[in-house]
């Protein structure tokens, strides 16, 4: 083999590899992006209530190891000392404890009201209505030491503008189930 021919072969081999490398980028760049963004996407999904799981009125749903049921949603009209056109709304839940490791499963528990436009209300501290002793809220329930088979009554109080009271649904999200959350339908739905 002459030196020239050897050189020629060398060049074509190099060209072939260069082409292969360039084509592999088509695969490698999206792969690198996916690996890089994996943690961010995971955090985004873990921290947000994104996908509702609807629960029909009167039904209970298995969520975070327990069975959740909406028992009541009502407005407390006629209170004084409130911002104009606002109504306190009480949401009552009954939870039958399945897995009693609440400190892990119910962490980041967030009860909210969602209206038809997607606006979300968190529990308020402006209104404090007296609740019976056997009714707790989501956070106090975590530390109540409830065992498997117990039934807990939970209540959260919200402050909602009057115009929104016609179309609101209660919802519950916990860290262990995110991005999914429970959206309770009402009797009228």
């Amino acid at each position: 083999m002459t030196a020239e021919a050897l050189d020629q072969e060398h060049k074509s081999g190099e060209r072939k590899w260069r082409r292969r490398s360039l084509w592999s980028l088509v695969l490698l760049i999206p792969l690198a992006l996916a690996v890089e963004s994996y943690d961010s996407v995971r955090t985004l999904l873990r921290n947000n209530d994104l996908f509702p799981r609807r629960v029909a009125w009167g039904q209970s749903a298995h969520f975070a190891g327990s069975d959740w049921k909406l028992t009541n949603l009502r407005g407390a009209f006629g209170m004084s000392n409130l911002p104009p056109d606002s109504v306190p709304v009480l949401a009552d839940f009954q939870v039958k404890i399945g897995n009693s490791d609440l400190q892990k499963l119910w962490l980041g528990c967030k009860v909210m009201l969602i209206d038809k436009d997607g606006r979300r209300w968190s529990p308020t501290s402006i209104v404090s209505l007296k609740t019976p002793d056997n009714i707790g809220n989501c956070v106090s329930a975590i530390f109540s030491g409830a065992r498997t088979g117990d039934t807990l009554n939970l209540r959260e109080t919200f402050l909602v503008p009057k115009e929104a009271t016609k179309s609101i649904w209660p919802a519950i999200g916990v860290a262990s189930e995110r991005p999914h959350f429970l959206l309770f339908q009402l009797e009228k739905d």
């Binding site: 909210m112 606006r119 402050l159």
Partner: protein, 192 residues
Amino acid sequence: MMRRTANIILLLMAVLFCYGLQISKPHYGDLIGPIPARGKLGDTVVGRAFEVHAEKVEFARKLKVDQFGQQKVLTTGGVWAVVSVDFAARSESTVVSTASWRGPAGLTYDQTERLSFMNGLLPVAIDPGLPRKARLIFEVRPDETSNATLLVSEKLVAALDSQAEIALGPVAVGADGLPAGTVDTLDMLQSP
């Protein structure tokens, strides 16, 4: 010879280019800083999760406050600046926690911590559809009152989140060095 000169020129250009990149590149702190939503006194400034409308600014030498049922008069080393604002939540309930007063020289005055017992100060919880009034109270140097900017954000570190920046406009200075219209005692017992 030509080739070597060309190489040296190329190298110098590369060095210059890299230096340009280095000095023009924004720093990490700038990249993750707050995202400004600008406006002026009287505007409604819309951020990602909240809206704020600053109505008026009052200056006072002393503040009359109610601390646990006891009336107190609070003095300051500078001048009290009290901004009356309306907050509104956009699509979610949220809490507005921090406000600062940035003077014309760039000095940043956080909301005073001497009135933490008072109602209607930050942090303020706001719900969608239910606007709320609040008062932001600062102690500032008299020479930092004119052309100041009010900074309002939800969290202490507003990284990658909205920060309302409200231009408060010029303030005339009186003969005593304090802003014109400074009252001697501002009564905070009246609701805003």
